[in-house]
Symmetry: C2
Subunit: 183 residues, 2 copies
Amino acid sequence: MSLKHGLLGFLNYGSMTGYELDKAFKESLDLFWMAQTSQIYRELNSMEKLGWLTSERILQEDKPNKKLYTLTKQGRDELKSWLGKSNNNEGIYVKNGFLMKIFFSGERSTDENIKALKKYKYNCEKALERLGKTGSSIDHYKNQILDKDKAFYWGIAAEYGYYYYMTSIKWADEIIKRLEDIK
Amino acid sequence: MSLKHGLLGFLNYGSMTGYELDKAFKESLDLFWMAQTSQIYRELNSMEKLGWLTSERILQEDKPNKKLYTLTKQGRDELKSWLGKSNNNEGIYVKNGFLMKIFFSGERSTDENIKALKKYKYNCEKALERLGKTGSSIDHYKNQILDKDKAFYWGIAAEYGYYYYMTSIKWADEIIKRLEDIK
DNA sequence: TGGGTCATGTAACCTGTTACATGATTAG
DNA sequence: CTAATCATGTAACAGGTTACATGACCCA
C-alpha cells in the first residue's frame, strides 16, 4: 500500500490533478518508487472510493478538461498514520531483480558477467545524473511550497540516492576488477 | 517475472521440493527478494503449466508426502534467456517504501524522524548480522554443489549486501547527526 | 506535417500479500 | 508437554505492468 501513500503525500501539499501527480512522481519519487501513469489514475479512483479524497471536474476551453483532487480529513489521517507506524523490515526487504540475477550468474560466462556489470555501472551513473536533475526539480518545488522545512526531507531522500548509487558503482568496479583478474 | 526465475535458478542446481525451495530462498536470496511460502507453491504450479518443470510425487511413511520438481529443457532455456537479456533499468528502479516515507517526513516532528532513523539503522544492523548467517549457509550449499564456481556469484551478491547496509547505516548516522544539530 | 504537451482513462493480465487450514513426527 | 520440523496448499484481496485508445492544441 505505498503508491496510495505517495499520492497522499503530494496531495497534502495542495490539490492536484492526476496529470500533475504523475509528473511530480516522475520528477522526484521515481527513483524510489517508479509508478505507471495508468496506475496513478486507477489508484486515485480507488482512493476517492475510500473517502481519502474528493474530486472536482474543471472544464477548460483550449485544453482537455481535468479533475482536481483534494485530500479529505480521512486522507490526511491515513497519511499521518502511515508516517507514524514503523515496521521491522523498513528499508530491509527491498526487491532487487538485478541482484537475483547476479546470484545465478555462475550460469553465464565470465565475459558476459563483466559486460552485465559494466552495463549496471553505466545505469547507475545515468541514475546519478538524473538525481542532479531531481535536485533541481526539488528546488523548483521548494519555491512553490510555503512550508520550506518540508522540502528539507526531499533533499535527504535524494542524498540517500547519492550514497546508494556511489556505493553500487564502487561495488561494480570492485567485482569487475576481480573478474578481470581471474580471467 | 522474477520469483519464477529465482526458482528456476535453484532448480537448475538439482531437483527440489517446494519446501526445500522455500528454505533455500529464505536462507539466501531473501535479502534481495523476499518470497511468501504460499506464493512459491503457487508459482511452482503455474511454472509446471508453462512447461518449465515437471513434478513427481514421492510417497513417504514417517513424513508427509512430497512433490519433487525438475527443470525441463524449456525451463532451462527460460533461465538462460532471463540471464541473457539486460534492460536499461536493472538495479535502478528499486522500490523502497522507507525512502518514500522519508520523502514526506516534513509532516513529522524532528524527534519522530530521529527515532525512525534510529530504528532504520538498527534494522540495517540486524540485516548485516543475518548476512553473516547467509554467508555460512552459502558455504553450506557450496559443499553440496559440484560446480563450485557457481557459488562464487553467491558471495558477490552477499558482498553487495554488505556494501548496501554499511552505506545505509552511514547515511542514517549522518542524517541523525544533522537532525540533532538543528534541534 | 510531425512531435511534444495537455489530459484522461480501460482491459487484461501478472505478481505479491494475508489469513487460514491440516496433521504427523521428533527433540528438548 | 510444547515447540520445531516436515510438507502442502487454498481463497481472497491488493498492487503493479503492459498494451491500447482518444484528441486537441502548439511550435518548429
